[in-house]
Symmetry: C2
Subunit: 381 residues, 2 copies
């Protein structure tokens, strides 16, 4: 199989939104009707006050817990979400939405446009994080949910949390944004731009109209993923894990093949990724991240004046992609704006991916935060 299609049916639920009035987009066009796919865990309580929205990162999806029907692996935050876990599905109703532009059932380049019954492909519009969040708000309206108890996510998931708090401050009781930033920096944009260039340089890209042709720019996407994966890990961790170890040999091969374990590791992650992700989704979503800037005039605090959302901000000391300084800037702005903020930079060896992994100090802090917020909200703890 050389081409990615979303699984049919996609994991969880799919609703068709934007049927009455289309979703307005920041690019100036609109979208509707459009499918939005999501998973839910736990039970909505009577007054609909126990909703935790978990927002996923660039290459995540709505399968935050349980077994993923495509990859057959555990959901991406399985360790955090479930009965008795920190995000306790015995207490909370957990929602996770495949972002607009994604490829796991929500409207995106590889999805079928219900208006035309053909694949969106290159006609799918370019989005912003605000557009993604606007679609999630429409989903909440659809589900009859007024307010989120908490929105939580890391990396691009953290951007969505911040956008929620900026655009719908009354609808978010508490927010947790991990390993993220108030705006994408030139280095972050540059890394994405290189990944997109690899995809667009692949002749199988076919100007974005490759869906249904039997050829998909998977080679370009593999390069993009290898780069992204390397940027998610810390050099010290790679040193300890791989060093200069050779792959399946005792001497370098002095040829074109990868010689070192770290090369095979990156290549493996590239190969595995193209089995579950659509190249055009990667282009659209990375662009949305690059557009992200909560306060283009630099006055971040003013965007949050009067907001009472309780905020948790976590960063990780070896994360060179979303360095702790970017989170510190957010914490300063929230404090200036008068929001209650807990923030901490965690000792963690895994670089940017630390937000996904088991960092006991984070787990303890976050468990305490969610418990304190639940008490304030009058939810059983």
């Amino acid at each position: 199989m050389t081409e990615f299609y979303p699984p049919s049916p996609p994991p969880g639920h799919v609703v068709l939104l934007g049927q009455v009035s289309p979703l307005p987009l920041d690019c100036g066009s609109s979208l509707g009707p459009y499918p939005l796919a999501y998973s839910s865990y736990g039970t909505l309580n009577a007054d609909r006050s126990n909703v935790v929205l978990i927002t996923h990162a660039l290459t995540g999806d709505q399968v935050v817990a349980g077994s993923h029907p495509v990859t057959k692996r555990p959901g991406w935050w399985e360790r955090m979400v479930g009965p008795g876990r920190i995000i306790d599905t015995d207490a909370y109703f957990v929602l996770c939405v495949n972002v607009l532009g994604g490829c796991m059932g929500s409207a995106g380049p590889s999805a079928i446009n219900p208006a035309t019954n053909t694949v969106w492909g290159a006609d799918f519009p370019f989005l912003t994080i605000a557009d993604m969040v606007r679609a999630q708000a429409e989903l909440l309206d659809h589900l009859g949910i007024d307010t989120l108890f908490m929105a939580v996510g890391g990396s691009m998931g953290g951007m969505q949390v911040l956008q929620w708090v900026r655009d719908y401050p009354q609808r978010v009781f508490a927010g947790a944004a991990l390993a993220t930033a108030a705006r994408h920096s030139p280095q972050q944009i540059g890394l994405h731009s290189i990944g997109r260039r690899a995809i667009l340089s692949d002749p199988d890209w076919q100007e974005g109209r490759y869906h249904g042709t039997g050829r998909s720019p998977t080679k370009g996407l593999e390069v993009a993923r290898m780069l992204a994966h390397l940027s998610y890990r810390a050099p010290g961790e790679l040193d300890r894990r791989f060093g200069r170890g050779l792959q399946d040999r005792t001497q370098p091969a002095y040829g074109l093949e990868p010689d070192y374990q770290v090369e095979s590791y990156l290549a493996y992650h590239g190969r595995r990724f193209v089995e579950r992700f659509d190249p055009a989704s990667y282009v659209v979503i990375t662009k949305a991240m690059d557009y992200f800037d909560l306060a283009p005039d630099g006055d971040l605090a003013s965007r949050f004046k009067g907001t009472r959302t309780r905020m948790f901000l976590g960063s990780y000391e070896t994360d060179w992609l979303y360095p702790p300084e970017q989170t510190n800037e957010l914490a300063d702005a929230f404090r200036t704006a008068g929001l209650p903020v807990f923030d901490r930079c965690y000792e963690a060896t895994f670089g940017h991916d630390s937000f996904l992994l088991d960092i006991p100090a984070f787990d303890a802090d976050f468990a305490q935060f969610i418990k304190a917020c639940a008490q304030e909200r009058g939810l059983p703890v």
Copy 2:
């Protein structure tokens, strides 16, 4: 023009070496006869004691000073080399050799193999830094030069300096290695591996046999160069220089084109690079860097026991690609081995590229170092 060929004639001089006995290579094969291209500046003194060998980085070449005949720009270390400059061509005889595997006249994939009178292409062997240095030593033999007064270079140039001091300690009076490392780390290998993957994924690569076909994997090489270029710069510098500035517009275009200045900047450097560099050379030379490890058993100091070469080591605080810790490790090893060492981490905003740029504190230190070495060597200062 879609295909790179070395200029004919290449800049400077070309000698044909390995005619009597071929150059042994670390991969087990050998090379000969093989051309080696170099530039020289200044005049060799009567006792041949005033030779400064400047070793170039991955994408550099022998045109260290003066006007480059291909790019029409100044040589890559023009500010350091010339009459009255810090490496004073009124006092020193400066040599700079296009590395073996390069594409500016020395034997490499895009060069003509004198034994067959056809382009080497995919038959060109994979090399190590030690092979490059062995060829340079043959050039010195050919020129009747026994000892280098100094070997100096940054990044891959620094690796060559270190290799010179390890393999020919009696032939190097002083050495200066900037922004470099004793071994390539997994992150450094990973970045190269991604760049090579982009080149090898380009259908115009044609299994390395593209020379003379009219098609060359320039798109892949552009991606590789964009990534390399980004890795050479510091995020803070990019922030100050570009911020989130848009290119030629006031609003994002919400399309496939680059929106931000940093994207255009990287694309520009990608485009410019393919006009002067051969993709297969890029593959061979990055592999040589990845193989670099002065002491696979970890005992770096033992490799330099008894060596009396005076060493200068410089690193740059914003260089995340070759971080100062790697230079500190070298300094510690040299001190343990008893070599006289000056080392310093310079305040510099430009990341890895700082070694090429105007850092006054470095200039002052290096001028003092070369003067002190000249005095010890009995050269006029």
